[in-house]
Amino acid sequence: MSALDYLSAALLLLGFIFSLSGAIGLFRFPDFFTRIHASSVTDSSGAVCIILGLALQTNFDLVTVKLLFILFFLLLTGPTGSHALAKSARHGGLLTIPECQEKAKDGVS
């Protein structure tokens, strides 16, 4: 294993940790909007780490380019998707926690 390999392994591990955290976050966070944070943010960083990790395994040729293109595309679409989903959810009537609390207060008063 060369130094690049070690670096690559580290990146892969990190990517795995981020990804796993995101997935766990899907279950652990209290409401939809917080869960979207978990998913979106860790998804992106997981993708970055893993793809960079893989890129280090290549001979730095077309394969690397393709990997980077995947990364580019994921970074482009990931947040876009999350944003669109959040927007839809808001339009669909889903409330965030602060809004819920306010509403509850309104109901009381």
């Binding site: 892969l12 990804s19 997935a23 766990i24 899907l26 395994q57 393709k66 293109f69 995947i70």
Partner: protein
């Protein structure tokens, strides 16, 4: 190094499984979509990794397709979800 790649492949699989679980059991539909989306992204990574595990990394085109389709699927879900309501 092969074992590292394989391990990370397995790791991604585990994440996929968790996302799958979210997609199957979710409090709201949006959570479900979230799970599906995450599953899709992870599959892209998984496919990319598999190419390296099997020693044929020139199949990354498939991963690209996955990413494209995952995005379009996500958009389609949101688009058509507007029209459907629970009561319908």
């Amino acid at each position: 190094m092969d074992s590292v790649l394989a391990a990370s492949g397995l790791g991604i699989l585990i994440v996929m499984a968790i996302a799958l679980a979210r997609a199957m059991v979710a409090p709201t539909v949006y959570d479900r979509i979230l799970g599906v989306n995450m599953f899709g992204t992870k599959t892209v990574l998984f496919i990319a990794t598999i190419g390296f595990i099997m020693g044929r990394p020139d199949f990354l085109d498939i991963a690209i397709v996955y990413a494209l389709i995952n995005f379009i699927g996500m958009v389609a879900v949101l688009r058509f979800f507007e029209y459907t309501s629970e009561s319908n």
